[in-house]
């Protein structure tokens, strides 16, 4: 299945299961896509291999950034007319709370979709969406 086919399956049939074939890192981490209240949500399953600090059982900060970046990319490829995988230009991640080893969810919002560059904001949370553990703003190259 080509990358374009995988994107079209996700966009038109809401079949997100094959995104991991296009983005192997998602499968390696246990990152999946679900729909919740009509929006696309990334879900990072709880796993010991996500721990950054072994004594505090806290999620690795780099991994939290990776989940947010992936949420932004997935949100972008669901936009109509996007045919290539967006490439990150820069990202800023703010860490608000320490992440525990529990399921972590992330959503992204495309703030501006230009022909060449998109601006995206994303946030992730654990038990309570009103208490995000980290947020991201980023620019992505769309060509």
């Amino acid at each position: 299945m080509s990358f374009a086919d995988i994107i079209h399956a996700a966009r038109e049939s809401r079949d997100y299961a094959r995104l991991g074939q296009a983005i192997p890192y998602m499968d390696a981490l246990g990152l999946s896509v679900e729909e919740q209240d009509g929006r696309v949500v990334l879900l990072l399953a709880a796993a010991e291999l996500h721990v950054g600090n072994p004594w505090k059982q806290a999620l690795h900060g780099g991994l939290i950034g990776a989940v947010l970046e992936t949420a932004a990319i997935v949100q972008l490829i669901l936009e109509p007319d996007v045919e290539t995988l967006p490439k990150p230009i820069n990202i800023t991640v703010d860490y608000l709370r320490s992440g525990r080893v529990v399921p972590t969810r992330a959503v992204a919002e495309v703030t501006k979709l230009g022909r060449r560059v998109a601006n995206v904001h994303a946030r992730c949370w654990q038990d309570d969406e009103a208490r995000p553990i980290a947020t991201l703003s980023g620019h992505f190259l769309m060509t």
Binding site: F3, Q21, A22, I23, P24, Y25, D27, A28, L29, E48, L49, H50, V51, G52, N53, P54, W55, K56, L59, H60, G61, G62, L63, G65, A66, V67, E69, T70, I73, L85, K87, P88, I89, N90, I91, T92, V93, D94, Y95, S98
Partner: protein, 157 residues
Amino acid sequence: MNDSIFLDQLRVFLARPGNRSPHNNFLGLEIVHLEHARAVLRVPYDARLAGNATTGVLHGGVITTAIDSACGVSVITALGKRMGIATLDLRIDYLKPAQPGQAVTAAAHCYKVTRNICFVRAIAYHADRDDPIANCAASFMITSLEPAGPALDEAAP
């Protein structure tokens, strides 16, 4: 504490399996160099960690994780003492795609320490520091003067 004694103790401490970060282990991230306020870490190439199956280019998240880890270790070597620290924010510019098949090195420099906050610059590159893949500015908060886990000079179990 004398800086070189601290660095030697830290090397031994971080090499013990129980003190290693499970996620860094998962990525195969290794420390290659430590000195005062500086740390160099390396992550091997792994096709399973690609962000694009067609090109095989590593996901930006792998670079982010390598950089975050290197920044954190550079903060500890700058403090000269293990303390509880947490990433406050991280900005990364992706300057060019990583080359498939090549390890990525992240080099961090904690250039300023204050009572509460530490400031760090970092780059990621393959072989040539002057041709970086990514550039980073980060800040860390000192969350506790007494970190979780065993003392640095505690004998290995």
